[in-house]
Amino acid sequence: MDVLPILSTLRRHKITALLVVLEIALTCAIVCNAVFLISQRLERMQMTSGIAEHELVQIQAFGIGKPDDARAHTQEDLAALRQIPGVKSVALVNEVPFTNSSWNSSIKLDPKQKLPTLNATQYFGEDLLSTFGAKLVAGRNFNPDEYLEFRQVQRDETLQKKVTGVIITRALGEKLWPGQSALGKPIYLGDDSVRVIGVVEGLIRPSLFNGDDTAQWSMVFPLRMDTGNASRYVLRTAPKDRERVLAAAAATLRKANPHRIIQDKKTLDDIRGEFFQDDRAMAGLLAGVCIALLVVTALGIVGLGSFWVAQRRRTIGVRRALGATRRNILHYFQTENFLLATIGIALGMVLAYGINLFLMLHYELPRLPAYYFPVGAVVLWLIGQAAVLGPAMRAAAVPPVVATRSV
């Protein structure tokens, strides 16, 4: 196909051609960035937690007034909850992944250090790891006799030194001591140190206020909670039993003490869903805008293409009369669209890169991966070709006899 005649024709329709180019460029720039944003959100929603999410349910119970014997009440609650058919394990814990409510502490590797090394979350609760289903990859779990009462430890500083060990995540160990085994190494919380006795594969923090990079910075301590200082019961059961177990757990807890508030009866899957709901909503919205943009652009090309064809009916007729085949005419319009799309895409890529730089600066977004450019180009070429096909076929159908008619 000869490109020169097309170019000379386009030169006579500068503004219209420019508008098509502009529209394709803007669409290309926005869609590239929007798709990138969507992929970021989807990736975030895939974040691993390190726990047996599909088998866990949570229920919160709050006593009213000062508990006279919180320890005894806790043991009664736990015993009653274990009686529920299908319950494999129960724990009363201070925090649960994806609930956005967390206990955190700064830690140091050296007590003389002026600034803390980092901030990590603290999980407390008897049987926490086995209930959550976090996988131990090094060292050991806590022995039953290692657990201390959180209530007493909090009040008595001498007891704080008696905490026998801490279990951390592999990611936290790797961050604190890169390339080394974390086992046996001390962590300082305030002035007291505690040694790492175990490492779990993963255990996500309940809230990601410090950024997604710190998601796996978690520590587990052998401390036992009671109803006075913790409210979250976590039950592990088979996935199909979760709803039934939740209902039974609520009834059990209410029966044990009618004067308390029972709330947030949820499966961990639901809790996770709520945690990422903003990301899901944003991804959906961006996807909607992308589709709308592509449709508007495609329809714009169809509209302009139709006009061009109508305007050049005579010219097409003359060409046909002079021996151009239908295929020639079809190709002419396809090539014309391809040329405009190519210029638009080239411009759009530069614009996309610019928008990405702006987003990187203001919204802490990573750089647009290079493969977005060729993929974006191919998609826009295809859309352009699909959009112009109708008008081009109509052009090809113009009979040579049109040339002889004066319109």
């Binding site: 503004i15 219209t16 508008l19 098509v20 502009l22 529209e23 803007l26 669409t27 720039a29 926005i30 929007a34 944003l37 709050f62 009213i64 007034g65 000062k66 956005n100 002026k114 600034l115 909090q154 009040r155 919380l189 305030g190 004067h259 308390r260 508030i261 709330q263 709520e274 709901q277 903003d278 909503a281 944003m282 919205l285 961006l286 805008v289 709308a292 943009l293 508007v296 652009t297 329809l299 714009g300 509209g303 302009l304 139709s306 006009f307 061009w308 109508a310 305007q311 987003l359 203001h362 919204y363 004066s406 319109v407």
Partner: protein, 432 residues
């Protein structure tokens, strides 16, 4: 003349129904998206206390240790410790001032069958409610004497009064909070500043508002814990009054610039004094007014801003699209224009004719855009965000929609109309 243009435009638009629909639809989509996201942005960056916010200031200091301190590179803390909050409060350097902390109250209904439930609580000093202009349906706020005496009195919100007392005047009756009886001294009318500026740093920024308002000392005496506690060293959070923890906010009312300058001087002096005593190590202070405080806390989420940017990009593409289509149409009508010009129509008349056509497209786009915006806002209301239920199109946005629609259509119409009016009549007539 205008009527004639209308008629011409109408006929021209009717001649290409598909194309006209396309233009209107594209413009409407762009406008709908813009209005939806703008409404959300406006809602999020709105003034919670119109008329009062300019006089409310939020003093901030920094009690953190010296470690890691680089002067000029750190910001004062969001909250105050009990000690600093009380020192600043007791100095009475503002006409009105109030300490405030957020908590939650376990509320026990009096009837036997009623299950206890949680209510959002505000622990504050006496002037808080009058200062922020909370309307009272019954009774009034508690007094400064109630503050110091630790009186167990409470002001409840209208929706809680409805729930507990069926909406009757409940002043003098008691409400059981966290296992203690509090005497109702006031019932609020509708009061829910959006965002809830005194609660934004704990993420309860939007929604119905708080259920109970009670004197700070009385609340603390019944062990109500603040929702937001931030400590810089180990401490017993059950004894917050002595712990190295920040959990209180102080709002001061400063009527004019002189008062603000005075208060800033007082605050700086206070910090220097504390540094001299060895309690403080950092001298940064801040005294933002309410709106500045909201901006500092970045109340408007990045997502909302991003969505608005995206919507404007979208509108830009839609306008480009409309320009292209209008232009193509206008070029096809060169002959018609030639005939009209030859018959005596001025360039201005041709320009006017095409602008009227563009304006009709714009108005139709605006009308449909309004429908899209309503649909978009309906979608927002069904989103999980906590501000979702507040997303409604108000009158000014309604008007704005039409301004945006008309403006975009006229901008889109400018180029085609100009091209149309410069068409030289003779060649057009010759070619036929």
């Amino acid at each position: 003349m205008f009527g004639y243009y209308l008629q011409l435009a109408w006929r021209s638009l009717g001649r290409n129904r598909v194309l006209t629909t396309l233009m209107v639809l594209a413009l409407a989509l762009g406008i709908g998206a813009c209005i939806t996201t703008l409404t959300v942005l406006r809602l999020l960056s709105g003034d919670p206390l119109p008329g009062r916010s300019a006089q409310l200031y939020y003093p901030q200091v920094d009690p953190y240790p010296k470690d890691g301190y680089v002067p000029g590179q750190s910001k004062p803390q969001e909250n105050l410790t009990w000690v600093d909050a009380n020192n600043l409060f007791e100095a009475h350097r503002a006409p009105r001032q109030a300490l405030v902390a957020l908590g939650s109250a376990k509320i026990q209904p009096h009837d036997a069958g009623g299950r206890p439930f949680f209510g959002d609580a505000v622990m504050a000093t006496a002037e808080f409610l009058p200062m922020v202009g909370a309307p009272f349906r019954y009774g009034s706020a508690w007094s400064a004497d109630d503050d110091t005496a630790g009186a167990r009195v409470v002001v409840i919100a209208d929706f809680l009064n409805q729930k507990l007392f069926g909406g009757a005047n409940s002043v003098g009756r008691t409400v059981r909070l966290n296992g203690n009886d509090f005497r109702v001294v006031g019932v609020l009318g509708h009061f829910s500043p959006q965002p809830r500026f005194y609660a934004i740093n704990i993420g309860r920024s939007y929604g119905d508002g708080d259920g109970v308002f009670l004197p700070l000392r009385a609340a603390r005496a019944t062990e109500m814990a603040p929702t937001n506690i931030s400590c810089w060293a180990a401490g017993d959070i059950e004894h917050l009054e002595t712990a190295p923890c920040m959990w209180l906010g102080l709002w001061v009312e400063l009527p004019d610039a002189a008062a603000v300058a005075n208060y800033q001087r007082f605050l700086d002096g206070y910090v220097r004094e504390q540094v001299a005593q060895g309690r403080f190590h950092r001298t940064d202070t801040a005294l933002p007014d309410l709106m500045q405080w909201l901006r500092n806390e970045q109340v408007v989420p990045d997502d909302a801003r991003l969505q608005a940017g995206l919507a404007f990009g979208f509108l830009l593409i839609c306008v480009t699209n409309t320009i292209g289509l209008l232009l193509a149409k206008c070029l096809r009508r060169s002959r018609e224009i030639g005939v009209r010009r030859a018959l005596g129509a001025t360039r201005g008349a041709i320009f006017g004719q095409f602008m009227v056509e563009a304006a009709i497209v714009g108005l139709a786009g605006g009308l449909l855009g309004l429908v899209f915006a309503e649909a978009g806002l309906w979608g927002i209301r069904h989103q999980p965000a906590e501000y979702a239920s507040l997303a409604r199109l108000d009158l000014s946005m309604f008007a704005f929609t039409f301004v945006v629609a008309l403006a975009s259509a006229l901008v889109a119409g400018l180029l085609p109309a100009w091209r149309a009016c410069v068409v030289a009549p003779a060649p057009q007539l010759k070619s036929s």
